[in-house]
């Protein structure tokens, strides 16, 4: 089986190790990973700020890279998967050809944990893990994509690690894309509350499926002087192979 990997802009610039872990994981399960070169951004920052034309430009570029064939498109980001799945078709509705492409692409997109559990059944194998892991349930992943159980199923496959739930795991971490730049005081207040939840869980590692959230959470933990490790689920799983 072959997939096309969408790295996402945050992974590309700030967290390439998440991309590498994703590739390692997929290859471990016998998946051929195609990485269309020239990737940029799914367009979320512009879309969420109300800039339809600009986000449509990003969408058109995405389609130009990913429209060929019908391999699954996998991405280690719930919010990017949601953007492509839920907003691309509507964003490009005025162009009959592009909107058809968008529909087709939307049908092929998977967030990574969704793909690992739903298609590869990766959780049926054991991974090595250690320490106490808590999980932040990102907003778009949970509410837009409805991916609630898959990450927990994968964490449970990390043998040797103990899952410790945090209070209010599904409460927004305060990242919200442009929100963190427009209303930083609120964003920091929310990431501080999230940090408090993480510390209350007793975990030494916090994981999730969205780099934007994890980045904001890391800032919140740092401000509290915490040494809790922040790692994308892809990294924990790849390390546990």
């Amino acid at each position: 089986m072959r997939v096309q990997l969408f790295g996402t802009c945050l992974v590309d610039a700030f967290f390439p190790e998440v991309g590498e872990a994703t590739v390692k994981l997929l290859r471990h399960f016998g998946v051929e990973v195609a990485y269309p070169p020239g990737q940029t951004c799914c367009g979320q920052p512009a879309f969420n700020a109300g800039y339809r034309a600009e986000s449509a430009s990003a969408a058109r570029h995405f389609l130009s890279l990913f429209s060929q064939g019908d391999d699954p498109i996998v991405t280690p980001s719930g919010s990017c998967a949601a953007m492509v799945k839920h907003h691309y078709p509507e964003l490009l509705r005025d162009d009959p050809q592009l909107s058809k492409q968008a529909e087709a692409v939307a049908g092929r997109v998977y967030e990574l944990s969704q793909f690992l559990v739903g298609v590869l059944r990766a959780h049926e194998q054991d991974f090595t893990g250690r320490g106490k892991i808590t999980y932040h349930s990102s907003c778009h992943l949970t509410r837009s994509l409805g991916v609630r159980d898959e990450p927990l199923t994968l964490i449970a496959a990390l043998r040797g690690a103990e899952f410790v739930p945090m209070p209010d795991a599904t409460r927004c971490c305060g990242f919200g894309g442009m929100f963190m730049a427009k209303l930083p005081e609120i964003s920091c207040a929310l990431s501080d509350e999230k940090a408090a939840s993480i510390l209350a869980s007793g975990a030494d590692t916090v994981t999730g499926c969205d780099s934007g959230c994890l980045m904001n959470i890391a800032d919140g933990l740092k401000k509290r002087g915490s040494s809790v490790r922040v790692a994308h689920l892809a990294q924990l799983l790849a390390e546990g192979l």
Partner: protein
Amino acid sequence: MSDHQTSLDFRANAARAIKNASLRGALRNATDTFGDRRGSAFEVIPDLDELRERASTIRLEVLDNLPAYLDQFTAAATRAGAKVHRAADGAEARGMIAALLKERGAKMVAKGKSMVSEEIHLNAHLEEAGIEVVETDLGEYIIQLEHETPSHIIVPAIHKTRQQVGRLFADRLGVPYSEDPLELTKIARQVLRDKFFAADAGISGANFAFAESGSLVLFTNEGNGRMVTTIPPLHIVILSVEKLLPSLRELPTFIRLLPRSATGQAITSYVSIITGARKAEELTGAKELHIVLLDNGRSEILAGACREMLKCIRCGACMNVCPVYRTVGGHAYGWTYPGPMGLVLTNLLTGMKKSHPLVDASTLCGACVEVCPVKIPLVELILKLRQRRVEEGYSSSGTNLGMKMFARAATVPGLFNWGERMARIFWPVVSRLGGKDVAGRLPRPADRPFHERMK
């Protein structure tokens, strides 16, 4: 006295509110409690999604046929002995209510809770006309004494601690200081009891109006709603035009949804259904009932792309789960309605020119969408407003330029990668320029971006 309006500098309001530790504690307590109680309360409902879908359908059907339902309501209410007035805007509503009260020689009015009366600053107008207005809902009474505006649509004084209320009553009512809520409630009961009987008129809102029978319904817990609507000889009701339901047969759906969504109660202590004025030989009800149906911008909204906002039944569930509301409270939103429903409705009713900063007051987390009993697509509406903000020219030129550059970079990989390289090389400068509040919270860009590792 005036209902002071905080400016629409939401960010500054928010920053101020965040520093207020007692406010944040009160908000955390309230929103956590209501969130938990709502969850427990809905456990007994076998299919909540189906119930919400039904409520949404009923509300949409009313909105799709609003003029006809309003006419039907007017005819039925009139037949039942009420006088129905249509007010195009706040000024007209205030004017007709003041004129009616003056005509009757009313000096003091006992008032039940009404968000729409806050929306049009009714109290201030009546006070200016020499009519004393006494709020009788405990939370509203507290903020009236304090000369404040409500900070939540269900529990208006949620931002006040018991000590603050105790101090307030001691100072303003001349009673001994107590911070026991039960004691404070008893004091309020005694003070307000006299007011109910002395009032020349009662003014209330209504949760819904029913077209078929011309009825109104009030959901209350304290009993003040029942007092205000039956003790004084004149009862004036003000409600906005979209709060209609076809008939009392639709009421059960909303009895099941509204109290649970608002406070986690299965039902409020009292559900009062009023149909017309007191008839001959009856012993219950105001002798005169006047119903003011207020438009104040609703018709315009109904004709627009954000019309689903008018499904709102004012339960407050959305603000109870909103991470932004929980952090800053209601006053930061600068107007009558806070939280997710507030930031949408405020823009729709007061215009983007004044209120557009509010559209940023959301992380688009979607928690509100999950709890709205009438399935208002709040995230979608916020996105629509953000688009409108750009289209109508209220976004900053800096952001516009930044987005144009983003669009360029997103379509030209070479440019995108060059941007990454520049940010990486000049990170100390970039992060300082971007400020410690924003860029300072980002990590340093990686030495080798992912795409280079995938060559």
